[in-house]
């Protein structure tokens, strides 16, 4: 039921109580009619009854967000033409009036920069991989590579926000929040949407909690950020001399008081608070088991690389993501910073890939060997691409690349996507030649894989219905297996 009505009804009750002593009877009848007036749980039940709309291909999502925008031209989108024309100016007909960021707008020349790295090709799928990501290349038979993604934003903050919430301005719910709202948590002892952060060696861009905000959805759907320290969820264990039974009693009493004040005031946040306390109580049992990486066998540690035991690293977060996901967390969102290679890109890229390549591939392999890959969708990608021309000084083997929204590459694996390559860019790697995929299309497709019709899954807020894809988005059916 929508908040406006609920609030309105609660307000009416107050007026009745004070002005019409007999009105209370009317209200009692009212609560018979609108059962969810006192009970926020019904809302969820209602949704669980209609979702998923159809058989889901994926039950869970792990989103390995490469924050700062990795260079598609140095990783996946191999363009020999750029190497041939290294140093020559980008033809104006190709740029075609594309706006530039403040960082290269003052450049008078746009010298093309061919990648410094060698590429290998997967003969089955035709996908290219640079030498910096041998591990990802080794699992290429499982990857669905989209080379024709494009976005509308040209700077990090709006582009990130767009990717995460479907809108460039803040205040909309994040993808994970939508999924949490629609499908809920599989495991009631863990949050449905968790967030893990890590930082690479390259030039970094910030991440901020608005990216995993619940927006206008109930705040129980906000992403739960795990700390990158040794204790992923802080203040979870009971204080000394308080055992689980005491805690239970305490929570029951608090819930009682909260219920009372909810009936008085009618603020839905009170119900959320009660639910959050309960979730935290249940998490006390589950989280220590899920987050302890110490018991992983050595073969797994070697697969992700030994950094996976070091809290706060990308490798550790990948391993943690597998553990959370296999324990029933619907949406695990990772952010890895450091891809913003405006200058010295090749050297920074090598460092980034060292951190990211092995664990990303290990996660796919690990899910596969546990029989979880076919029900888990893994997404790897940044918020936009990087330019084919150089920012700053260009030498034979060093260059920088600016932001490029017109085309970039992401890959997905598992969860109902078809391995292969989708979409194609032109010889300059600047524009999309065929099968463009907009960010909205990407969202629609992910929703579809989760069994949700993105056009039907809405939330009414401030007088109109919102969707993750708002008013656009088409499912890219060709990449669904």
């Amino acid at each position: 039921m929508n908040e406006f009505l609920e609030h309105g009804l609660n307000q009416n009750r107050r007026k009745f109580l004070s002005k019409l002593s007999l009105g209370i009877g009317g209200l009692a009848l009212g609560s018979l009619m609108v059962p969810s007036i006192f009970d926020a749980k019904n809302e969820d039940d209602l949704f669980n009854n209609i979702l998923p709309h159809f058989a889901p291909k994926a039950k869970r999502v792990i989103y390995l967000f490469q924050n700062g925008a990795p260079s598609q031209l140095d990783l996946f989108d191999y363009k020999p033409m750029l190497q041939k024309m290294h140093g020559e100016d980008l033809p104006a007909s190709i740029r075609n009036g594309q706006r530039l960021t403040g960082m290269t707008a003052s450049q008078t020349k746009f010298p093309l920069a061919g990648t410094r790295f060698n590429f290998t090709q997967n003969k089955n799928t035709g996908a290219y991989f640079s030498e910096t990501i041998p591990h990802i290349a080794s699992i290429s038979d499982d990857l669905c590579i989209i080379r024709s993604l494009y976005t509308e934003a040209i700077n990090h903050d709006p582009a990130l926000t767009f990717f995460q919430t479907g809108a460039q301005v803040g205040n909309r719910p994040s993808m994970g929040s939508w999924i949490s709202y629609g499908l809920g948590s599989e495991n009631k002892n863990l949050p449905a949407f968790t967030v893990l952060l890590s930082k690479g060696r390259g030039n970094g861009q910030g991440v901020y909690s608005k990216l995993w905000s619940n927006g206008f959805l109930d705040s129980i759907h906000q992403g739960v950020q795990f700390s990158s320290g040794e204790e992923p969820v802080k203040y979870l264990s009971n204080p000394e001399f308080i055992d689980r039974d005491d805690k239970r009693k305490m929570l029951d009493e608090i819930a009682d008081l909260n219920q009372q004040s909810y009936k008085e005031i009618g603020d839905p946040e009170i119900v959320t608070k009660i639910q959050q306390y309960e979730l935290a109580y249940r998490m006390q049992m589950e989280v220590p088991e899920v987050t302890s990486l110490q018991n992983e066998p050595e073969s797994i540690i070697k697969m992700y690389g030994p950094d996976c035991l070091l809290p706060g690293t990308y490798a550790a977060n990948c391993l943690l993501a597998r553990k959370l996901s296999e324990s029933g967390v619907r949406f695990v969102q990772l952010y890895h910073q450091g891809w913003d290679g405006h200058n010295n890109l090749p050297n920074e890229l090598i460092g980034q890939c060292k951190d990211v390549d092995q664990p990303s591939a290990a996660l796919i392999k690990d899910l596969k060997q546990r029989g979880l890959l076919d029900e888990t969708l893994v997404i790897w990608g940044g918020e936009f691409g990087r330019t084919n021309y150089c920012q700053g000084p260009l030498t034979k083997d060093n260059y920088g690349r600016d932001h490029h929204p017109r085309c970039f590459t992401i890959w997905m694996a598992g969860g109902g996507v078809k391995p292969g390559v989708y979409g194609e860019t032109d010889d300059f790697g600047y524009n999309i030649n065929s099968l463009p995929v907009h960010v909205h299309d990407f969202h629609a497709t992910v929703m579809h894989l989760m069994g949700v019709d993105h056009e039907k899954f809405t939330f009414k807020h401030l007088g109109r219905r919102y969707r993750l894809t708002d008013v656009s988005g088409n499912v890219v059916k060709e990449i669904i297996s």
């Binding site: 039921m1 009848l29 998923p52 709309h53 495991n187 589950e286 029933g328």
Partner: protein, 706 residues
């Protein structure tokens, strides 16, 4: 008189239910009704006749200005009873309208009309005490108005229940007969158009209900259209969000193909007799219509509620809304009870996927699972079961995929298992089990997809670096330093004498180290089966002395001023982030400052901690000049140091980004109260750098004095 008081309670009841009614009217779109409530609503068409009759009688009585003996008392009570019945009927009316299967436009006027009638009835009760009712003209006009209101709005209601044509003469309704003729003889109408209309339209437009006066049961009616004329094509093409879009947005929608068939057929003039095989074979209408298959009437059955099977430890859900297939997942092994599984026997034939990961299962649990006849996917990762325990799964004929990660594997038993349990996919990852080990079986069972994963246990890999767990590098008195590594069973070695730690002679770290003097700690980890890590080192500096003030003679760049002179004696290091306020940065000039001590102090050793970040044009300190003074005015040089060699050793690549200590030893130390330092920057960046020829930055975050 007794009678009159006894009916006064009705007025009170009116005070309760009329506000409630208004509430319902206003919020009727958002109300959710349970089955009992909507059952109550069904009484609306039955009960409504009483208040209508009484209402009509009242209005006629008022209009006729009929004289009664005990007028006051009777009027009062009749009004009251009438108002109560009206209110009840109105509420029931709202309830029935929530069912939603009525023409919306009529409902809205009927709803507000009904409310008006109720309110008039209430006003009659409320105003009866007043004198206005004595006025004959007023009585007559109230009667007339009420009569008209009742007639008009109840007529609307009549149309709702009895159909728009309720009061007109009956029409002949031609329902199309569905034939069993072969396709070759069918008309387009018979083959596709009529089935589409039957499936998606006729439940409201034809047969029992005829909304908006539109009947789609025969061609004459289709052509004639409804109340608004022939709107069919317009409305089905409106966007879904439009209110006038048909079918209504909560009903089953036309597919693209169906939409095209209807459109094309109407455009052809809606010819009833157009035979399908008379159409051109390339005509899109022919292609669409001949491929159209009328739907069998198998709507989603409303599936029974599963909430009884769900708990914090078990998730039991339909595969999707409307499906009868069930997915089950268990969580939190420590709370597991066999009863949870036992309970699922009630829906055992619907379960297609079962996730039992990390649940401590036993043989008896497997016996239950073996009765889930339609199980397709089973996850038994880390269940500590043996192949013996799971042999009972052989009865599951539909089992397609099984995950057995973490279960100890014996090739013979696995072979036997695969002979009995016919799966297509098996996931077998476990410690110490390799792709090689599975090779003979994967040849034998070529139609099974094995997933064993990479077992890298024996591959040699480099250890990651140890962590020196101490943020500070400054020793005022002593400092405790912890060394950490997260991999079990590693040996952490360290040295404090600038030598490289090795696996033989260097001391093994066992407890935190206590450091008391300038020292460089080097550490490295070793483990068998792994390559040793890199050496990690950190220098700790003694800082015994602290001046009372630092006076900056040359000013730092305004962006990198820190907290002024205090920045370099606050015992806070700036890490590698030169913008964080713990650094003093100088761009174009030397850094010159004076340190003042309360008492004359001997300085033997001065260490400048400076940043080098060539990518950001920050180069090493070139020269340091130390001068001393007794009065703060007359300074004399006591030491010079030169570091230009460091910069000269730099080559083009790679970028350097590190903090470095620049130490000055004062050979002839003498107690002084004032010391002046002049720190020279690089005046011209070398030619290999993009900033060649321009002066370089220097950044200093701390000065250690001994």
């Amino acid at each position: 008189m007794k009678k009159i008081t006894s009916l006064l309670f009705i007025e009170n009841i009116l005070w309760v239910i009329n506000p409630y009614l208004i509430l319902l009217c206003v919020f009727s779109n958002d109300i959710i009704v349970g089955p009992w409530i909507s059952w109550l609503g069904q009484w609306h068409p039955v009960v409504l006749h009483f208040p209508i009759v009484i209402g009509l009688m009242i209005s006629i009585y008022l209009l006729a200005n009929y004289k009664l003996a005990n007028k006051e008392a009777i009027e009062k009570n009749v009004f009251r009873i009438h108002a109560l019945l009206t209110s009840i009927v109105a509420i029931l009316g709202i309830l029935i309208s929530l069912g939603g299967s009525y023409d919306k436009s009529i409902i809205i006027s009927h709803k507000w009309g009904g409310l008006a009638i109720t309110l008039i009835a209430w006003i009659l009760v409320l105003t009866h005490k007043n004198n206005i009712f004595k006025n004959v003209l007023l009585r007559k006009s109230i009667g007339l108005i009420y009569l008209l209101v009742i007639l008009f709005f109840t007529h609307k209601g009549g149309q709702l229940t009895h159909g728009k044509e309720a009061l007109s003469l009956p029409n002949k309704v031609k329902n199309q007969i569905i034939t069993n003729k072969p396709d070759s003889l069918l008309t387009v109408y018979e083959k596709a158009v009529n089935p589409i209309l039957l499936d998606k339209c006729i439940s409201c437009h034809g047969g029992e209900r005829i909304k908006g006066s539109l009947q789609l049961t025969s061609i004459e009616f289709i052509k004639k259209g409804g109340r608004h004329g022939n709107e069919l094509l317009n409305r089905i093409h409106l966007p879904l969000e439009e209110e006038k879009h048909m079918p209504p947005n909560d009903k089953k929608q036309l597919t693209k193909e169906e939409l095209a068939i209807l459109t094309k057929w109407m455009q052809l003039g809606g010819d009833l007799n157009k035979a399908l095989n008379k159409l051109n074979k390339n005509d899109s209408l022919y292609i669409l219509a001949s491929q159209y298959i009328a739907p069998r009437n198998d709507k989603f059955k409303e599936q029974p509620d599963l909430s009884a099977y769900n708990s914090n430890y078990v998730l039991v859900q339909y595969k999707f809304h409307g499906s009868d297939k069930i997915n089950v997942s268990f969580f939190q092994g420590s709370f597991y009870k066999t009863e949870f599984l036992q309970k699922l026997m009630e829906v055992k034939d619907q379960i297609v996927s079962l996730n039992m990961q990390s649940i401590p299962l036993q043989k008896k649990d497997m016996e239950i699972i073996s009765q889930f006849n339609n199980l397709e996917k089973l996850n038994l990762n880390y269940t500590k079961l043996t192949f013996q325990d799971i042999a009972s799964l052989k009865v599951l004929k539909k089992l397609n995929s099984i995950s057995l990660a973490g279960i100890i594997i014996d090739n013979n038993k696995l072979d036997q298992f695969l002979q009995e349990v016919k799966v297509k996919k098996i996931q077998l990852w476990t410690n110490g089990f390799n792709q090689k080990d599975i090779a003979p079986l994967s040849v034998k069972y070529a139609n099974i997809s094995f997933s064993v994963g990479d077992n890298l246990e024996d591959s040699i890999m480099k250890l990651n670096n140890p962590i020196i767990d101490q943020d500070s590098t400054i020793i005022t008195d002593r400092i405790s330093v912890k060394l950490k590594h997260f991999l079990k069973g590693v040996t952490i070695k360290y040295t404090l004498d600038d030598s490289e730690p090795d696996s033989l002679t260097s001391p093994v770290y066992s407890k935190p180290l206590l450091l008391t003097k300038n020292v460089t700690l080097k550490t490295k980890v070793f483990k068998s089966g792994w390559l040793a890590s890199d050496v990690i080192q950190k220098s700790f500096y003694k800082s015994e002395l602290r001046p009372d003030t630092v006076i900056l003679i040359t000013k730092p760049d305004p962006k990198y001023m820190g907290t002024g002179g205090n920045t370099i004696i606050d015992h806070k290091l700036g890490e590698l982030n030169f913008g964080n306020g713990n650094w003093l940065g100088y761009a174009k000039a030397d850094m010159v400052f004076v340190m003042k001590f309360k008492k004359a102090t001997i300085l033997n050793e001065i260490i400048f901690n400076a940043l080098i970040n060539t990518g950001s044009y920050i180069f090493p300190i070139q020269t340091i000049k130390v001068e001393a003074s007794e009065d703060g005015k007359q300074f004399h040089a006591i030491q010079n140091a030169d570091y230009t060699a460091i910069t000269k050793s730099y080559k083009k690549e790679p970028n350097i980004n590190q903090a470095q200590a620049f130490k000055v030893n004062i050979v002839k130390a003498k107690a002084s109260q004032y010391y002046k330092f002049t720190i020279g920057n690089l005046k011209k960046i070398p030619s290999w750098h993009p900033g060649k020829g321009t002066p370089a930055w220097i950044f200093v975050d701390e000065v250690f004095l001994n």
